[in-house]
């Protein structure tokens, strides 16, 4: 006999929800039969606001699209503007950008470590990884002047050169983190509870993945090798040596395995970038920002964030303001329609873990 279905509201105020969003669940017992996501709690109308700001002013809004990892947005905007204008970027700036992007990935992985385990009751990990993440944020503070909002990668290059001896301090942090990642493995990947709660949970198969246009680690967790940094390389990624890890299974476990490898790949990339860092200019200066106009045109650029590919479509009508900015984050793909499908048949207790593993970041959906 089937149990009577009840409706459960998860969020927006719920400790298990990642960020400020809501899921309406129809449950029979504790099995979900239907899930409806409701977003929009963080809709600030960025894209509308950017149409009111000039090209440089718009740049300051970019990093606020998604807070856990702000640099891919800045990077996308900078690249889109450069593509429309045809502005050259100095070689050194490209290397610095990649370093910043990978550091940001690393910081975001640390947050994910904490969130993913926190959602399963493993609170120690949060204390470790979020605490260790501060070392990366310290580097950002030194380089960019801000912990979270860096506003560092901008059209034409980067905003300031590396401080003296910065590379050494990065290496020191990387050495420390490499050791810590092994500690995390002991606590997490070898943990019987973690395995039990993640294997076979939150399944995304290949067909669903394509239907939903899934990107990033979620796609790689289904065994599909796809990474914008390789497929559609930007900056200097095509000159770097790194691997794109994949895992079979399409469950939380598989995605966790992928991310575990990716964090190490990021460290590998940063080491290479620091080794090969060229000298020279770091910025190809834009004209007076108040009178800066871009030629007519459009650009679509994609950047790999921790959550997956983000795409930015930028249109210029020849004026000093963007005609249209449209950012599609990875969470836009993962946390609305895909989440609704994936949750069907799962337990209420696993919702939080699934959301974390899909890289749910509501501000990126709502913008």
């Amino acid at each position: 006999m089937r149990e009577k279905a009840t409706t459960l509201y998860l969020g927006p105020q719920h400790p298990g929800i990642t960020g400020n969003m809501m899921i309406r669940l129809k449950v029979e017992g504790d099995t979900i039969v239907k899930a409806t996501t409701e977003v929009g709690y963080l809709h600030r109308a960025f894209e509308k606001l950017q149409e009111q700001r000039n090209w440089l002013q718009s740049f300051t809004l970019m990093c606020r699209f998604c807070v856990p990892e702000t640099d891919p947005m800045e990077e996308s905007y900078a690249r889109a503007v450069e593509a429309i204008e045809g502005r050259e970027v100095p070689e050194r700036a490209k290397y610095i950008r990649v370093m910043v992007l990978e550091l940001a990935r690393l910081a975001s992985f640390m947050l994910w470590y904490g969130g993913q385990n926190g959602s399963l009751g493993l609170y120690t990990m949060g204390q470790w990884s979020v605490g260790d993440r501060n070392y990366i944020l310290d580097l950002f503070e030194e380089l960019t002047g801000g912990r979270v909002y860096h506003m560092y990668i901008w059209p034409g290059g980067v905003r300031r050169d590396l401080p003296k001896g910065f590379e050494k301090r990065v290496i020191k942090v990387l050495n420390y983190l490499e050791k810590r990642l092994d500690d995390y493995d002991d606590l997490m990947f070898d943990n019987a509870i973690f395995k039990k709660r993640t294997q076979g949970v939150g399944l995304v198969d290949k067909k669903t993945a394509i239907e939903h246009g899934v990107v990033g680690a979620v796609l790689r967790g289904c065994g599909i090798k796809s990474d914008i940094r390789i497929d559609d390389p930007y900056e200097i990624y095509d000159q770097l040596d790194f691997e794109v890890p994949t895992a079979e299974g399409g469950d939380i476990w598989a995605r966790a395995l992928v991310r575990r490898q990716e964090a190490r790949q990021s460290i590998r990339i940063i080491r290479q970038v620091i080794d090969q860092m060229p000298g020279g200019a770091f910025y190809n200066q834009i004209p007076n920002p108040l009178k800066w106009t871009l030629p007519k045109g459009d650009a679509y650029v994609r950047t790999e964030s921790v959550r997956g590919e983000i795409g930015l479509y930028l249109v210029s009508d020849g004026g000093n303001k963007p005609r249209r900015v449209h950012l599609r984050g990875a969470a836009y793909v993962h946390a609305v329609s895909l989440l609704e499908d994936v949750l069907i048949g799962e337990n209420v207790a696993d919702v939080s873990a699934i959301m974390n593993s899909l890289g749910t970041c509501p501000p990126e959906i709502e913008r």
């Binding site: 400020n20 709690y41 600030r44 809004l61 606020r64 204390q127 605490g131 501000p363």
Partner: protein, 181 residues
């Protein structure tokens, strides 16, 4: 019942001392400032040693953190959450957006001046505030509690009509239960 004025004073001091050291923060990330809460709570800054810790539901919580901008959609939920919270309760406004709209001053979907809708006890400067600033904010709140000056909740009750009017101005579809607090 204690009717004596002096004894009431002593009780107040003890009460405020106790409240000061047990600030439970509602786990509701209303805006982007929420990203600095995990670092504040975890090992590097460890706010728990100051008596600050998370609470899962409004009924358990003492402090409502408004971490930045509030969209009108979230405002509705925040009001509901705030009214469910039990006394003593305090509100901390986080960053520029809660003071005068911040970056979103011309956005059609975010409120600009938080204290028109909810009573705010402490504001923390920054966009976004560093964990040190967050801790300083809690420190200020503790000080205000100890001095008996964090009276936002009482003010809200006294001026409920004024607040309601402002709230209803931005929330057209007002279907909410009246909470018994």
């Amino acid at each position: 019942m204690i009717n004596d004025k002096n004894s009431q004073k002593i009780v107040d001091i003890i009460q405020n001392w106790a409240r000061k050291h047990s600030i439970w923060v509602l786990a509701y990330g209303t805006g982007c400032g929420a990203i600095e809460i995990p670092p504040t709570m975890t090992s590097r800054y460890d706010a728990e040693r100051l008596g600050v810790r998370g609470a899962a539901t409004p009924r358990q919580a003492d402090v409502l953190l408004i971490t930045g901008y509030l969209t009108t959609k979230t405002l509705k939920r925040v009001i509901r959450v705030y009214e469910q919270m039990q006394d003593p309760k305090y509100v901390i406004g986080f960053g520029s957006c809660t003071i005068n709209g911040g970056m979103y001053y011309d956005s059609y979907n975010t409120i600009k001046v938080l204290d028109k809708y909810l009573p705010v006890d402490v504001y923390i400067n920054g966009c976004m505030p560093r964990p040190e600033a967050v801790l300083a904010g809690f420190g200020k709140l503790q000080q205000l509690i100890a001095e008996g000056k964090a009276n936002g909740a009482a003010e809200y009750k006294a001026n409920l009509e004024k607040y309601r009017e402002n709230q209803k101005r931005v929330i057209p579809n007002w279907i909410m239960p009246e909470y018994n607090w």
